[in-house]
Symmetry: C2
Subunit: 198 residues, 2 copies
Amino acid sequence: MSGKGQQGRRPRADVQRNRAALLAAAQRHFLRDGVGASLEAVAKEAGVGPGTLYRHFPTREALLAAVLQTRSEELVARRADIAQLDDASERLRQWLRAMEEYFSAFSGLPEPLMAAARAQDPDNPLTLPCDDLITTTDEYLRAAQCAGQARPSVKGYDLFLAAISTAWISGTGATDEESLGRLRTLIESGYRERSDEE
Amino acid sequence: MSGKGQQGRRPRADVQRNRAALLAAAQRHFLRDGVGASLEAVAKEAGVGPGTLYRHFPTREALLAAVLQTRSEELVARRADIAQLDDASERLRQWLRAMEEYFSAFSGLPEPLMAAARAQDPDNPLTLPCDDLITTTDEYLRAAQCAGQARPSVKGYDLFLAAISTAWISGTGATDEESLGRLRTLIESGYRERSDEE
DNA sequence: ACCTTGTGCGGAGCCAGCCTCCGTTTTATG
DNA sequence: CATAAAACGGAGGCTGGCTCCGCACAAGGT
């Protein structure tokens, strides 16, 4: 009857240690080698066996989602900053940029994210974050549309696609920052309403 | 002194047969499984050993480039059709669409194409086709710009990026045709000149 | 028809990475 | 300190990429 209610035992100490070590190692490897990094190497660097890794994170996506959790929280924080801005168009613009940076956390990240966004597979731990992003994008977009600053024909999902594909290009490492900037401008001109002040 | 000049021998017959069988099998597998298809399976289906496959095509990219040759010729043919059109803007639009379809030949194709476009690596057999596409895009774009139908700030490479990223999204299979259509429209609005008839 | 030559064939074999299963170790608790 | 549950970790099966070398067979001469 004491402590954690129905759970008879307290959780073991090493499980937390291992989990933390795995996450740290995974982040390093994903940063260096992209989302396709060798999971065996991650386990070795964390000082655990492959079995332990797979017990904690049954799939690559699960590990990815866990590592991404930190970034996700950063994104939420940035959302608060963005909400302070006056101009709806500027809010949308900065939100898109923030989302793109989130997608660019690791090279190759857009691929599994798109796969998760596809089939609403509830087993895929990346599905939830994705849905949230799309919904948020739609909110910012609608605000801009009401202010007459974005075309009515555009949908939130379209801008999600635009942001993730820009991140994909960025992740291939084949393109300089200048070209990426022009591409972002092109997309922005694409969703902005034509008859516009500024 | 007859035939192929300095070459003493005529090329063997089985070489051509094997090459053709490999290309046919590779096309089938790339179509079904994307560019990451198992090369061993390709060799087996072609009725040859792995060694033979790798002698004909030392890398996956080489095989891909050879299979793509057919599509590349289709694209050249389409270019001739497009050149017939009156409107420079329409020519650009249709060229971009043709290029996107070329990129969508196999699932996952944009990835190695971008890698080839990156470093001008002369060893990569996909580099040449890519450069050609970018140059052609630039030509069509310049014509449209001279006709006042495209923004002067846009570059050919930007539209190449837009097309290949659209193809990437399409290849993930995560998006319906309707959303893709809206994305294309968005991009088109992005590069078109604002003060425009129609 | 048969030999000679050398080009091309093909599979055995090695490596890397994914993932699982189970005997062993570690940990919380009485 | 004893005990049982929980977690560990590595051996091992599997797939796929890629190489290397002995062998077979097609081309060309006699």
